[in-house]
């Protein structure tokens, strides 16, 4: 027999044996393998992010003096407006302190905020993810909520040494409970990402909306986190209900689509809210090999 064909046959047999071993091997080995390849790519991702910043720096440096002067003027105006706002917030803060003293309310300082830059974005029909340039080394843990301001961006699904992967609100793996604006009885609804179908904007689905719920007139209804489940703090904004609600097949509840309140694919940086104490959700996440 031709030695080349014989070698090929032997290779196929070896591959079949390896596939069988690969299926039987403990998941820790597979996870280690995945982790090794992630860490191999991490320096390149860091380099990529930093070179983008360098390019931006040189792009700004190449601007003319007139442009810079104009930008400076605009900035001065914005600064003035912001100073007024700061004074306003200072007043509110003082009032807040006073009210807290009255009620003896202690704000739970359960989270540590870690600000991280977005390294790369990645999406398909089955996932919508971003990779940030902070990881285990910076204290990030799987399951931690990721926000921008008071808006939910997603949730940390995988943490590596210097990078982390985040499932966006629109990702099929994302789930959380929420309240709807205009619902006086605070019914709990469910928000989960939807596998995207076409080139359109990725959205999430809001389900279990009570039949008697009616959206506020003249504006899209906002969707807020409930704070239940211990993952997301309460009253963070998830997005807006897209258009109207429609009845489900069963008819007991209504459903709608959720439009994220920020353009998730244009974020430059995000804040990861790392719980100071591990919650049960995190323990579950650590056992999940695909997320």
């Amino acid at each position: 027999m031709d030695p080349n064909r014989q070698g090929a046959r032997a290779s196929y047999v070896a591959l079949s044996i390896f596939v069988a071993l690969w299926i039987l091997v403990p998941s820790a080995v597979r996870r280690f393998n995945r982790e090794a390849f992630v860490e191999f790519q991490a320096p390149a991702l860091h380099l990529l992010g930093k070179s983008r910043e360098l390019a931006t720096f040189w792009e700004k440096k190449s601007r003319s003096v007139e442009e810079m002067a104009a930008a400076g003027r605009d900035l001065a105006r914005i600064n003035a407006a912001l100073e007024i706002q700061i004074n306003k917030f200072e007043d509110i803060r003082r009032e807040n302190v006073r009210l807290r003293e009255i009620t003896h309310y202690n704000v739970p300082a359960e989270y540590m905020s870690v600000v991280a830059r977005v390294a790369t974005r990645d999406s398909s029909s089955w996932w919508q993810r971003i990779v940030i340039r902070k990881g285990r080394k910076d204290g990030i843990r799987p399951g931690a909520p990721v926000v921008f301001g008071n808006t939910v961006v997603g949730r940390v699904t995988a943490v590596h040494l210097t990078t982390s992967e985040i499932d966006l609100v629109t990702s099929p793996g994302f789930r959380c409970t929420a309240y709807l604006e205009g619902d006086d009885q605070n019914h709990i609804v469910l928000v989960n990402g939807v596998a995207s179908n076409s080139l359109g904007t990725a959205k999430a689905r809001v389900s279990v909306i009570p039949r008697d719920y009616s959206m506020p007139a003249g504006q899209p209804a906002r969707v807020f986190t409930t704070g239940m489940g211990g993952v997301f703090p309460s009253r963070l904004m998830l997005g807006y209900l897209d258009g109207g609600t429609y009845a489900t097949q069963v008819g007991n509840f209504k459903e709608s689509l959720l439009v994220p309140s920020r353009d998730l694919y244009n974020l430059q940086e995000v804040s990861v809210l790392v719980p100071l104490h591990q919650n049960p959700g995190e323990a579950l996440m650590q056992g999940d090999q695909f997320q």
Partner: protein, 170 residues
Amino acid sequence: MGWAWLFLLLATYPWLLGADLASDTLASSSLIFFVSGTCLVAPCRRLKRWQAVLLAACLGFLFEARRPIPDGTLALSLVAIAIFLSSNRQLIRNTPGMLWAAAIVNVGASLIWFLASSYGSPSPATDLAGQFFLQLLLSGVVGTLSLIPIALTQNAVLDRLNVPPAPDTP
């Protein structure tokens, strides 16, 4: 040279990173610039079978590392493809053959990761046919168009490593 596959992987990695960057710009459309299959075609002409197998496994694992695909699905599929290509070098001995191979391998590998993703997905998706065909089409086009520059890079590295050229008549 025994380590040729590793040097080739390092030389190919910028192309994979470039594809990731291109995917980054396409993120809002849920499409991915997939070139892992194409990166496998040119090395299979010149590398020994075991070297091609190692390269294929690493290419697959690099793609899988940051994506929620069942471990090893793409990598092991690429290994099988590498075995086939390195055992049937006459199929890729000229440029048209390589272009066909790049398109077929890239679309095939793309199909495999898409199906693997659907298997590992936490929620069912509906009406995915359009997205599916668009992704396969993109993979085919990108795979064909990117073959020449990738193959040139890889051949340059293999020449430097003194790996013998592919025989005209295998």
